[in-house]
């Protein structure tokens, strides 16, 4: 068994006992990347020498008997919207093609403190807006299970990276499903923590009340390992919650007794692919065989999730992305410095408009326009305020459901990975990808995608568990129970 097919948890133990060095481990992953990255295209930036140097430093410190952090020597790939000092951070946007952050995001600082080896930057939909990674201005990432298919998005590069064994751990961000959906489509584990569980400081903001950073891994215990490092209060992020962080790593293998899972009947309507439906039903039977009780719960407003999300997220995005003005960082259109044309617009406004026009792709422009429209005078009450009220109702649906159950169980997506180019011209169809995931972001609850089967065409299927806020411990333990009873997570694509 190759070292790269072992879990990060096992690799960590092997390094602790001296069976393995970080240079050996990192070299093994770099070799895998060399042989398969040209087919997958998961990374937008990778500096092999820098990565190996970091691994060598960990080995040297270990040999000297220095105390090391919890991820010492383990490679971690990072989505390209997390600021890392001195390393290009582009959000897969032309606008930020030359941007080099002068500081580290809190999660990056935490990975460094934990002595992880940062192994490259992963592709994504531009500014995390999309569900296929086709909105990247840099490249299209191919799903390792079928190179003609999309890997999901927006954290498609991180998902493909884990599925292709390019790294054992990766970071993604999830605003409406951007960790869980690509995790499901690539057959890996992806966890969106509760809102406020992980600091967003240094994450290039898309929709600030919805964004969360989380782990993408090939198994549940590694998700626990990575979340343990990421979670916790941060004074740099006023929305990070000062709530105790449980011992995820220690607890993850402990099964839950008297587990009650909730099913939402509306999830199993006409839109759900028949193969996915039967895989989820099978997953439910696995839980029943493990002693879980299944209850039907009502989520009367869940079906309004997409409409609510596609008002709130673009409104927040239009405000957040106002910072990309061509004045302080990013690309400035080069024709705008002189005021030779006599138009009604001043030169500064022309600089803003032309720089943003040249730097942003279609989907980003669409969401900025939608948000600006929905927030504009005369429409604010009809759209934004209305959506915030429905958001409250969706949160109340969750509150009511979690009175009777421990976790919700259901599908992550309505369909498996689809062909490249198939959906990209139809924004509404692409938005529907988030149908089963957005409500968790709107309500601030945690969700995890766990491999639970394959279609006849050999594409992965994920099931979703969701917990009340700050119950990631329960979420991980329940996910591990399922993983322990099945072998879906051990399958690997044959790229």
């Amino acid at each position: 068994m190759s070292i790269i097919s072992k879990s990060a948890t096992q690799q960590r133990e092997m390094m602790r006992t001296g069976e393995l060095t970080s240079v050996e481990l990192t070299t093994a992953y770099l070799e895998q990347i060399r042989s398969r990255e040209s087919a997958v295209k998961a990374f937008v930036h990778l500096d092999e020498q820098q990565t190996l140097d970091a691994a060598q430093q960990i080995d040297t410190r270990r040999a000297a008997g220095e105390p090391l952090g919890d991820l010492a020597g383990i490679p971690v790939a990072v989505k390209d919207n997390l600021c890392c000092q001195g390393i290009p951070t582009t959000c897969a946007s032309k606008f930020l093609s030359d941007f080099i952050p002068p500081y580290d995001a809190t999660v990056i600082a935490k990975l460094k403190t934990a002595d992880a080896v940062l192994i490259g930057r992963t592709n994504m939909d531009e500014f995390a807006m999309g569900s296929s990674t086709e909105n990247s201005a840099i490249q299209v990432t191919n799903n390792p299970w079928d190179l003609q298919c999309i890997p999901g998005g927006s954290s498609g590069g991180s998902a493909a990276c884990i599925a292709a064994d390019f790294a054992p751990l990766a970071l993604g961000s999830d605003t409406g499903g951007s960790i869980r959906q690509p995790a499901a489509l690539c057959g890996i584990v992806g966890l969106k923590p509760s809102y406020g569980r992980v600091s967003r400081y240094g994450l290039v903001a898309f929709a600030s009340s919805l964004d969360q950073i989380g782990p993408m891994t090939s198994n549940v215990e590694d998700a626990a390992l990575l979340l343990q490092v990421l979670a916790g209060h941060d004074s740099h992020d006023s929305t990070s919650a000062d709530v105790t962080v449980d011992s995820y790593v220690e607890n993850v293998t402990q099964p839950l007794s008297n587990l009650t899972l909730g099913i939402v009947d509306e999830h199993y309507g006409d839109g759900l692919d028949i193969e996915i439906k039967s895989s989820i039903e099978e997953a439910i039977r696995v839980y029943e065989s493990l002693g879980a009780t299944i209850k039907h719960v009502e989520m009367p407003h869940a079906s309004y999730g997409i409409a609510t999300y596609y008002i709130i997220a673009p409104c927040e995005a239009s405000s957040n992305l106002a910072r990309f003005d061509g004045a302080h960082y990013g690309q400035r259109a080069d024709t705008c410095m002189t005021d030779q044309q006599s138009t009604s617009e001043d030169a500064l406004t022309r600089m803003y408009r032309s720089s943003r026009a040249a730097g942003f792709g279609d989907e980003v422009k669409r969401r900025i326009m939608l948000g600006t429209y929905a927030l504009s005078e005369g429409y604010y009450d009809a759209f934004y305020l209305k959506a915030l009220k429905v958001r409250r109702l969706i949160q109340q649906d969750y509150d009511n459901a979690f009175k009777d159950i421990d976790l919700l169980i259901g599908p992550v997506t309505a369909r498996s990975a689809f062909k490249q180019g198939e959906t990209i011209a139809d924004p509404m169809a692409m938005y529907m990808e988030d149908l089963f995931t957005v409500t968790a972001n709107l309500a601030g609850v945690a969700g995890i995608s766990v491999p639970c089967g394959f279609t006849d065409a050999g594409l992965p299927i994920g099931m979703q568990l969701q917990s009340a806020p700050f119950q990631e411990d329960k979420l991980l333990r329940a996910a591990y129970m399922f993983q322990n009873a099945t072998d879906w997570h051990q399958r690997r694509p044959k790229v």
Binding site: Y304, R353, K365, L370, V390, M428
Partner: protein, 94 residues
């Protein structure tokens, strides 16, 4: 409620985006579709529902007024598309 091309052009100024003729046409079509879809929220009675902008109960955080670490001027200016000594350079405003 259909969105017109004129509406979209006005919003593009508010959003500080310069859109081409083709973009204005496709944007009008796509935004109209999305707006039409989100109007399904009108089915829900929200009369006595308080808006929820944020899922956490956020309390105001006060910090002591002391000088902490911050970026150097050079670091803050390092990504400037154009700089002029200590400033970001932009087209003449006045």
């Amino acid at each position: 409620m259909a969105l017109t091309r004129d509406d979209v052009e006005k919003v593009s100024l508010l959003a500080r985006l310069q859109l081409t003729d083709d973009e204005l046409n496709s944007m009008t079509m796509h935004l109209s579709q999305i707006i039409q879809y989100v109007h399904q929220l009108d089915e829900i009675n929200t009369e006595d529902v308080a808006p929820l902008a944020h899922t956490l109960d956020i309390t105001n955080v006060l910090a002591n007024d002391v000088v902490g670490e911050c970026l150097s001027r050079d670091a803050a200016l390092q990504n400037a598309p154009q700089r002029d000594e200590e400033c970001f350079r932009v087209p003449a405003v006045l």
